[in-house]
Symmetry: C2
Subunit: 251 residues, 2 copies
DNA sequence: GAATATATTCAACAACCGTTGAAACCGTCA
DNA sequence: TGACGGTTTCAACGGTTGTTGAATATATTC
């Protein structure tokens, strides 16, 4: 029950198991094992034999079901991105609608951005925790980051940035992009739960304490966005744009 | 000139080159090549043959000079950490001293934390850029992060957190640790310069535009820290601690 | 039940992995 | 010159890598 990503597949679709212990399809068993191992040691740190052994299936099944190791990697990455981002988008539009005719607060927008992550990380099962660690790996990777994050998260991110721009009237979009850059770095590292914070703080903070994250992340990034916006408006107060181009020249 | 990490070794120490094109010692050539490749594809994504081929030396030299692949990895990580953190620490104490008898601003503290990174990234040569990408990789890795970041960065970080606590009177240290967690995620991702921001913003922002980072990172995280502090003080206004333990029970 | 499509197993491939030990090269000092 | 310690080269080791094709097993359809 835990480990279905969509939550809508029929349960008990087979009356009897086919070969192995669990009657879970081999394809998903591979995805689950790959997810956990890729999250832990990255793309190159895991062999197909590690994965298929953990999944209890034959090595050749990877080529058969996915085509190759790289395709398996992207399949793992895609699997949860879709269901996750659909929920985030719905939540965002909810927040926007609920604030009408006014504008939603930055905190509410930020919450819509990571509340689904908090929920899945807390109650979605271990697969989701692995997935978030994997996203942190990909997001920080020069090799996979630009390509994979762009392909699977950009539609959502673009929408969030648009709503953030709305909620920060007069703020140059460039500031919002930078704010998002800082946000996504903090977000992915935090949800990766590497355990470093626990060690650093001597047990005072626990990475796995998601309520602590829930209470703090939104105020933190919302204040950051406001600071960026204010700074930009203070530096060049009126972005009058094209009309006055060049008029600042001395006389 | 670029690629010396300490900046104090004698130049032109050999009158004639010993074997290869550059008279740079083989040990450092290996470190340089390893740094670039590890940063790009992680620990497992690079073979010793990749590294030694890029360095123009024999494979066996890695075992001879470092002992093994893992030891090479930590040697790469250690090399620049020391010189970097010494400078950051000096800058921090400068900031603190200069503010006496008052307290330094959060912005000034934050600046001391990443101004050395900005300087090295802008004018330290390509090796430093690779190094920061490597730090992002390590920081987000469940396998290497807790161990390696703790060993090589924690003394510095502890000091920064102490100064931040000073600068935020009455703020529970737990908030500062969380603030640092968010900060380090934003920091490492930003300095990794994966190029994702460039792609996402359609060229509006450039990851390599370090002046943009310099202007924005400090206001962002400083505002975040203040927000965390205010939130904590609003939730439980007076942390009276041990004296009143249990006295809140209903009469 | 035969035929067909899908899924899984097995064995093997060439290529590459990290590591090692012996041999060769180097400049230096006795 | 000769011996020596510090480097470098070379070749090879056993083990692992991703991938493949043929053979087998299972499920579905006629």
């Amino acid at each position: 029950m835990w480990e279905t990503v969509g939550g809508s597949q029929p349960v008990l679709q087979r009356t009897r198991m086919k070969k192995k212990t669990a009657d879970r399809p081999a394809k998903e068993r591979i995805l689950d094992a790959a997810e956990q191992l890729f999250a832990q040691r990255g793309f190159y740190g895991v062999s197909l034999r590690d994965i298929t052994q953990a999944a209890g299936v034959d090595v050749a099944l990877v080529s058969y079901h996915f085509g190759g190791k790289r395709e398996l990697f992207t399949a793992v990455f895609e699997r949860r991105a879709e269901v996750l981002n659909r929920e985030r988008l719905e939540l965002l539009e909810d927040v926007r609608r609920r604030a009408l005719p006014g504008l939603p607060s930055l905190e509410a927008i930020a919450n819509a951005f990571f509340e689904p992550l908090l929920e899945r990380s807390a109650r979605g099962g271990p697969g989701w925790k692995s997935y978030f660690a994997l996203v942190a790996y990909v997001n920080n990777s020069p090799e996979f980051g630009p390509m994979m994050m762009t392909r699977h998260f950009d539609p959502l991110v673009e929408r969030f940035i648009a709503v953030l721009c709305e909620a920060l009237p007069g703020c140059p979009p460039r500031e919002v992009y930078w704010g998002y850059q800082f946000l996504t770095g903090a977000l992915t590292l935090t949800f990766a739960e590497t355990g470093r914070l626990d060690k650093l703080s001597g047990g005072l903070c626990r990475s796995s304490d998601l309520d602590s994250v829930r209470e703090r992340l939104a105020p933190y990034v919302a204040a950051g966005f406001r600071a960026l916006c204010e700074r930009a408006l203070a530096v060049r107060p009126k972005p009058v744009r094209a009309a006055a181009r060049g008029s600042r020249r001395r006389r």
